[in-house]
Amino acid sequence: MAAETPALPGAELFHPRVRLRKGLGSAFLVLGVASVVFGLAMLAFLVFDVVERAIPWLRVEFLTQFDSRFSDRAGIKAGLYGTAYMMFFTILISFPLGVMSAIYLEEYARDSWPKTVIQINIANLAGVPSIVYGLLGLTVFVRWMALGRSVLAGALTMALLVLPIIIVATQEALRAVPSSIRDASYGVGATRWQTIWHHVLPQALPGILTGNILAASRAIGETAPLITIGALTFVPFTPQSPLDRFTALPIQIFNWTSKPQAEFHDLAAAAILTLLVVLLTMNSLAILLRNRAVRRRAG
């Protein structure tokens, strides 16, 4: 049989203090659980508060009426239409621009100092306060391009705001595509474009979609840039063209919460709930789309 295991040399030099170490571990676990519970509790409280205040006001008329001085006749039709309209154009503008930029930067651009500069700038732009984009939108789109305080001006401003998010997320998704797939494609004589189109993009699509979901969620809730470019607060009409003036749900909410009457605060809660539902619906649709893309390619 095997020789007797010799005692570990220098064992007497150790002070394991196992109990203390395990105790610290348990404390850490408790802290972690507490953090999660704290966050969830706050969220639950917030949602509960909003839902409780909103429920009495949730009627069909709330969605089909325009804003009014009288709380029982006030609705969010204008905001809903404005948000939908603006988001449509925001996605239409930002998705292709962002994805194409990312493809260029990731797949075509050589590693050189201009690329590095652009890269650093994009990363920084993602962190610029949204009101700054509002000022940019006001100067460039509203004034200089003379689009006025229109849906299009709002959508362009929002597109600028979310472009860095889309570009960074798309680049990461492209980078995550294994090089073996690219090798395989080049190996049968595919061009760079064929490789990207047939293999890299489909493989990266779920990641790209995730980035765009995040970006759209960010845009739908932004208020500051819209206030800066001067989206209206009281709008008794729905925009008929992209060049019409408009309001959006966050603006409507902002407007109502700043009124003195308590009924309007509850209306704001109802609008918040509506905004949340719109946001969650949009995200679920995108996730559904993404899962279908994933499932089609699985083994």
Partner: protein
Amino acid sequence: MHHVTEETIEPRVAAGSSHPPRVRVGIPAPAVDEPIEHPAIEVRKLSLWYGPKRALGEIDLKIAAKKITSLIGPSGCGKSTLLRSINRMNELIPRVRTEGEVIVDGVNIYDRRVDPVVVRRSIGMVFQKPNPFPKTIYENVAFGARINGYGGSMDELVERSLRQAALWDEVKDDLKKKSGLALSGGQQQRLCIARALATSPDVILMDEPCSALDPIATQRIEDLMVELAREYTIVIVTHNMQQAARVADRTAFMLAGDDLVGRLVEYGLTDQIFTSPRDSRTEAYITGRFG
């Protein structure tokens, strides 16, 4: 085909080796190499750098048509790099610089006017890890032909390629149902071979094609290679010397010196390399003294 007769052929010093042939007493003379008259590929003074780091040093190598040529050598000797430079795959790696020539069909594929995309259609590649596309079996095979504008019947091409790769019987019932990723490792690698065959290449490069496979799957791929060598020129990189001995007609031994630059040490008929290597380093490597 060439026929070797003892009288007409002089012992030939392999390209890249400066050592004279050694005559051994008491050992039957090994098969002697014939000069490769019409090589499918001729590598001339090929050097390659990864950024400032040199990886290949002036490689000269003639590869016989419709034969299997194996590249052996320890890790880091540049054999995969050499293989990948035969269809310009190295250019996909940033900051790679190549000097020298690779002549295929009388054309230097590194000529400025040659498009690597065109080169890769006729010089196919099979990689170390099976890398089927996450698409159906059918699409895996059809992709290369389709992007290269294949005009014939795609169904026939897919069937022929899968038959050539000895995979047809196993997958014919779910060509368009099953993803390439749903196959076993050995099947995936044969699918990758079928994919390479579908673009009607002249040359197939294989970069350690069996290193991720079990012995039985390896055996099948090896049989397949021998079968395919009737129609195709095959160049294979392998770590497995028994594999080189089993399948290759010719073997090239590469080694990186202290400067880490990979060079060709010895090249000749596989029998000769394994039974009577001329260079002491080759002998040391094949007898397992290093590497």
